[in-house]
Every structure is written in C-alpha cells, then in structure tokens.
Symmetry: C2
Subunit: 127 residues, 2 copies
Amino acid sequence: MTAITASDKIVLEQPCPIRDVLDRIGDQWSLLILEALAPGTLRFNALMREIGDISKQMLSRTLKQLEQDGFITRTLYPEVPPRVEYTLTPLGLSFLEPMQQLVAWADTHHRTIVAARIRYEAAQTKT
Amino acid sequence: MTAITASDKIVLEQPCPIRDVLDRIGDQWSLLILEALAPGTLRFNALMREIGDISKQMLSRTLKQLEQDGFITRTLYPEVPPRVEYTLTPLGLSFLEPMQQLVAWADTHHRTIVAARIRYEAAQTKT
DNA sequence: ATATACGGTCTAAAATGTAGACCTTCAGAT
DNA sequence: ATCTGAAGGTCTACATTTTAGACCGTATAT
C-alpha cells in the first residue's frame, strides 16, 4: 500500500492513477504538512511546531515523500547550524485549491459530524 | 490520533475542527469507500469486490466509523442470509463534491507526479 | 562549563493493519 | 443425505507502521 518498500525503493506507479495519488496524500500527515506550507516556506523545526504533534521521523519521512512526488522542494543552506527550507512547488500550489475545498467542507460540516457522533453514541448506549 | 480509543469509546470532538474531520477521512480507506458508494447503495461484499484489496476487518471498521460520523447509513435486512446495505447520507453526498475535485486533480496531475518520482530517483542514483 | 538550537537518524516499544480461520443459517448441487 | 457456498461479519496471530526518545555534530548564548 505504501509507495516506499522496506528496501526504500520508489514505486514509480500503481495500476490505478487515482489510488496512486490518494494513497500518497491520504495518510495521516501529508495534508497537514501541505496546509502548513500553504502560507509560505517553512523550516523543519518550524513545521514541527506548526503541526504540533508529529514525530520528527514522520515529518522527515513525509517531507521526503512529498519531495519525491514533486509537491515540495527541499533547500539546504550549508550553514552552521544547517538551515533547511521547504517550499511548495507549482504542483504543490495547484493542489492547494482542491485541498482548500476539502478544508472548507470540513469547517462547514464538522458540527454536523459531531452531532452524528453524539446521536450514534446515544443509540448504542440505550439497552 | 484515531477517533476510537482502545476501549472503543468515541471521541466526540478534537481541538481543531479541520483535523477532527481530516483525521477521519484521511486514512487509507475512507475516501475509497466513499468513492465506491458514490454511484449508489452497495452491500458489504459488493464493496469488498469493488475496492479489491481491503481486508474484511478494515472494511468493517471503516464503515462503522463512517456511519458514526454520519457519512453513510447501514441498513440491515433481517433475512437469511442477512443483507446489509450501505448508502451515502446527505452529508456523505455533500462530501462528494470536494472529493471529486480531489479525484479530478489526481487524475490530471498523476503523470506529473510519476515524472517527479523518476526525476527524484535519477537524482539519487547518480552517486 | 552548560544549555540550546539546528536537522535529522536510529532503536526499541507500542499501535495498527493483514490474512485467514471461524460463526450461523439456508439454498442448491451431488 | 451430505456437502458447498454465500451472506456479513468477528477473532486471533502475525507483519508492518508509528511513536517516543536517545544520539550526532557544530556553534552561539549564558
């Protein structure tokens, strides 16, 4: 299911193009990272702070994947201490539009969803 | 991160509404299931066949979560053998629109993504 | 002298996902 | 009469993924 195998080989393409893309961005962190980068370039630790509860390893891995797929660029400034900046590419920027629609939908409907959860829980509890 | 704890209690709401929603639908299977239900009602095993490589357990669990959150309804017809139908609710239907945009984006850009992977791999390979 | 920040990697442990056996009941094939 | 298969799941054991946290090197601030 993942696009990186144990031996770290890149799976270049999967049978279904839709799944190929959704599998990559439909994980726990990708959307959150892209959203964090929407306002502009950020450094590694700034991203960690922005997202709040992601582990370094997952941030590092997910950034690498997003870079592989061309959503972001990684720029290393060989200073000391090193500075690394992550920026959305044109592809990443173009992705923002459908993603913002999703975010807008989430914002509009989350009350309804919370209500559904309460209703569901109530239905389970009785009996 | 998940909305269901080990003791199967429902987490009714999370601090950030966007994450509350994205966490739920941003897993491996939710989008795929909603997409499969877009054309109309489907039964459990029909969904399995439609999606192809989902395990029974994950299908069962994900459907339960989607039902909790009000995206789908589950209707059990107490026949023998039992028939269970899953259908999008109005909320689920309203979600289709932003999701289709995402799918359309994926369809449009997946060639670019595959190209980016090839470029990345080439860049890694040379020493 | 010590602590902190930078951007990670590594390891061990915890959480999550998978495959496949199993359950009940009935219809249809042998 | 017996066996098979399908329905919609659950349960268990195993595999994979994620997490938390130590560690690395250098340099500035205290």
